[in-house]
């Protein structure tokens, strides 16, 4: 196979200016239309690519949660919940346009705070976030045609907790449908990535959104627990780890509150022997190395038919060797920084179990920056279904490769997981796509592509990947009293 490639010329660094992010030394939480100091211990938001502290962020305490929920309730009762859908739509459209207008600023800020490559925050995260607001703005005055009865009512106050992998996009997935349906929200962004959510709060002000409709409370898990357990919350939406999802479900059991959970995944990306191999390679790369593999629906388990396994793996390794890992603000960068030191440790530890259990590790020869939290793109082959790296979500740029002989075996192995968020099928045969897609127990099944997101397509899981759907018509149900 091709030896390590050595570039005869270096791509010139093309860093986006960090000045565009308008980074402030400190950020405050957003309650009842105002930026206020939180009663919690302030958080420090760190740039994972350089380990420097970006800003100090005030954090919420129990009293703040209480205030925010009360503000949301007041806004629901007095303004937002009674407002005609056509009026709510105007606010949502305004927010969507403001996200577009401030797109570069948001993209750079997201990249600084999260560590993801600028080309992803600029070309995927921010445009898709705007698209979610546009899409749901369209629904706001058409809810009676959504199939949930002639006059579906909002639920009330939604408590929402989101993860650090797509900070602004996950916010959009949660807030856009909630507002479109007439709910008010209290949202807790992840501890390590609160900045774009607080700029979003500014956008809410800019859009003239009535006070209390959107409240943003930065904080750690304890604030999240306080929020989801708060008596004044009518609906809880959570995206994050399965473990926390289970705790939330226990907390809410018997309370009558609505709950949706979008949790972990260990998606199978299945390559049949008649697949378009070169594009499958691209899809595998996109499936597991997009956003450093910090994607709950990442294609982290590659299932390849034995007859093409060797050829595909050769192609895959030479392709991965060309991935450029480094400064996330550089537009040439394909893989950025892991979001935190803790996550890097977890990826390192789980990968070590792969070695210990006898899988063969291959690591991309690409150079890594000296500072920051980086992990080289890694492929484990000779992985067996019983190994931890085939069963547990690694949430990093680590691919586990398994093989199969027959289509039935592929489906059996693909479904042999406690999760079920997504799956991929690669074959040139249309009938096989339909056959396999019907048998896969996963919320979304991609054929000859991977990691495509659209606000019109419902997204959600099976089994330990959670329940409820976000996006599309189905996603409205979570925020309507039906």
């Amino acid at each position: 196979m091709p030896e390590e490639t050595h570039s005869p010329w270096e791509y010139a660094p093309a860093p986006e200016s960090r000045a565009i992010a308008n980074l402030q030394p400190s950020y405050r939480m957003f309650v009842d239309g105002e930026f206020v100091d939180g009663a919690g211990e302030p958080l420090k938001s760190v740039n994972p690519a350089t380990e420097e502290t970006l800003a100090e962020v005030s954090s919420a305490a129990a009293s703040d949660v209480d205030n925010a929920v009360r503000a949301a309730r007041k806004a629901f009762d007095r303004t937002w919940g009674k407002m005609p859908g056509s009026e709510r739509a105007k606010y949502l459209f305004r927010i969507a346009r403001l996200i577009q207008e401030r797109g570069r600023e948001l993209a750079v800020l997201e990249t600084l705070d999260n560590g993801k490559p600028i080309k992803e925050s600029r070309d995927a995260d921010i445009p898709t976030a705007a698209a979610h607001f546009f899409h749901h703005a369209g629904w706001a005055d058409k809810l009676s045609y959504a199939g949930y009865g002639p006059d579906p009512r909002p639920v009330g106050v939604a408590g929402q907790v989101i993860p650090w992998n797509f900070p602004l996009l996950m916010l959009a997935w949660k807030i856009a449908p909630a507002l479109a349906c007439g709910n008010t929200v209290v949202l807790k962004p992840a501890e390590t990535t609160p900045l774009t959510a607080l700029v979003f709060a500014e956008i809410c002000q800019q859009a003239g959104l009535p006070p209390g409709v959107v409240n943003i409370l930065p904080g750690a898990g304890d604030v999240g627990a306080e929020l989801v357990g708060h008596a004044g919350v009518d609906k809880v939406a959570f995206t994050g780890s399965t473990e926390v999802g289970k705790q939330i479900q226990r907390t809410l059991a018997g309370s009558g509150k609505k709950l949706t959970l979008e949790l972990g995944g260990k998606a199978a990306n299945v390559v049949f022997d008649d697949a378009p191999l070169d594009q499958a390679v691209e899809g595998i790369v996109n499936g597991i190395f997009f956003n450093q593999g910090h994607v709950c629906c990442a294609g982290s388990r590659l299932l390849v038919q034995e007859s093409v396994a060797e050829e595909l793996l050769d192609k895959l390794r030479s392709r991965i060797a060309t991935l450029r890992v480094g400064d996330p603000l550089d537009k040439n960068t394909d893989v950025g920084a892991v979001n935190s030191a803790e996550q890097l440790e977890r990826i390192t530890a789980l990968s070590a179990t792969g070695d210990a259990e006898g899988a063969s590790r291959w690591t991309s020869p690409c150079p890594l920056p000296e500072k920051g939290f980086f992990f080289s793109p890694t492929v484990f082959s000779d992985v067996q279904q019983s190994m931890r790296i085939a069963r547990e979500e690694i949430f990093g740029p680590v691919l586990s490769v398994l093989t199969f002989r027959t289509p039935d075996e592929a489906v059996a192995k693909a479904n042999n997981t406690p999760y079920g968020l997504s799956a991929g099928i690669w074959t040139e045969k249309g009938s096989r796509i339909l056959w396999a897609a019907q048998k896969m127990r996963a919320g979304v099944v991609w054929a000859n592509t991977f990691n495509r997101f659209d606000p019109t397509a419902p997204f959600g899981g099976y089994q330990e990947s959670g329940f409820g759907r976000e996006g599309g018509r189905a996603g409205l149900e979570a925020y309507l009293d039906v």
Binding site: W9, Q279, E282, T449
Partner: protein
């Protein structure tokens, strides 16, 4: 299934090939099975990859290196009915010394002309190191008898052309007569003698990416030294996705046989920005060893001047405009 091909298989296998590839060229039906057994091409995925790679940033020293590399890969071309000896001589002068004010500018790889003008080019380029490429085989349509096509090749080769650009019979290819196409390429290759053979697939007429992949392999199996996208007479001519696909084909060929074969996109590549996008594809799809005129060429007439202008911009620190380079 398509109907069996009407021609009698007369394919002879090439001697140096690995067993499974030699087996594939045994007769018309094994050839068909082999070509149709190649992995399919997903259009959406291929085009996405090509678009994604086009955003790499090449600047300053790297850009100058890329520009010089691209100049050295140009097959400076004139293929008009109105071509004259004077036009060809002017082009040859330009090719051997593209920017007399900046003596460091590399010469181009070759001058590409019709066979009846090959002798003029050979004479004008003597001692320059610039090759003479000649399109032959009833270029650009390829619609003539085998005899006429081979005579065309002999005309070019006997005039001293160092490279022959042949067109495949797209009619035969599209009607599934792969053996006939294979045969013809082999016959032309034999008629080329020492001259290098570039096989023009005319990808715009092959219509699907699957066909482009099959035609690429067919040309490689039959012994083509280069696979070339287009005659420049059909739209679309060279595109980035098609070139990606052909680069994958030569990379896969290298993995199967250890041999390095070349790729030449032709037609429609007019500016430095585009040329650099192609070089990025060469670098990342096939590999850095393809970044040489031995293995990658641009078939172009107007690209050279833009490269020269951008080269001056890099060297002088400012842009001077089209009147500072010769229009030949």
């Amino acid at each position: 299934m398509a109907n069996p091909p009407p021609t009698t298989p007369s394919v002879t296998s090439s001697p140096g090939l690995p067993a499974e590839l030699a087996e594939a060229t045994k007769d018309d039906s094994t050839l068909r099975r082999f070509l149709h057994g190649l992995p399919g091409v997903d259009q959406v995925g291929l085009e996405q990859r090509a678009a994604g790679l086009a955003t790499r940033s090449i600047k300053k020293a790297a850009k100058l290196w890329a520009i010089d590399t691209a100049i050295g890969m140009v097959d400076l071309t004139t293929l008009e009915g109105a071509d004259t000896e004077g036009k060809v001589r002017a082009l040859c002068a330009k090719g051997r010394n593209p920017d007399p004010d900046r003596p460091g500018a590399p010469r181009v790889a070759a001058i590409c002309v019709y066979p009846d003008l090959a002798a003029v080019a050979v004479e004008a380029l003597r001692g320059s190191g610039v090759g003479v490429a000649s399109v032959a085989t009833a270029f650009p349509s390829g619609r003539s008898s085998r005899q006429v096509k081979l005579a065309d090749v002999e005309l070019a080769v006997s005039a001293g052309a160092t490279e022959v650009d042949m067109v495949i019979d797209r009619g035969a290819f599209l009607s599934g007569r792969y053996g006939q196409v294979f045969d013809e390429i082999q016959a032309v290759k034999a008629a080329c003698g020492d001259a290098h053979l570039k096989v023009i697939l005319e990808t715009g007429e092959l219509a699907t990416y699957d066909n482009v992949r099959r035609a690429s392999w067919l040309a490689l199996l039959a012994g083509g030294d280069f696979i070339k996208t287009s005659t420049g007479k059909v739209s679309p001519a060279a595109t980035l996705p098609v070139t990606h696909l052909m680069l994958q084909a030569v990379r896969d060929w290298r993995d199967h046989t250890g041999e390095l074969r070349g790729v030449k996109p032709a037609g429609g590549i007019r500016n430095t920005k585009d040329a650099i996008r192609y070089l990025v594809a060469v670098h990342e799809v096939a590999g850095p060893e393809w970044l040489t005129p031995e293995l990658f060429r641009f078939g172009a007439s107007s690209l050279l001047n833009d490269l020269l202008m951008q080269r001056r911009t890099q060297l002088d620190g400012h842009y001077s405009g089209p009147d500072y380079v010769a229009v030949d």
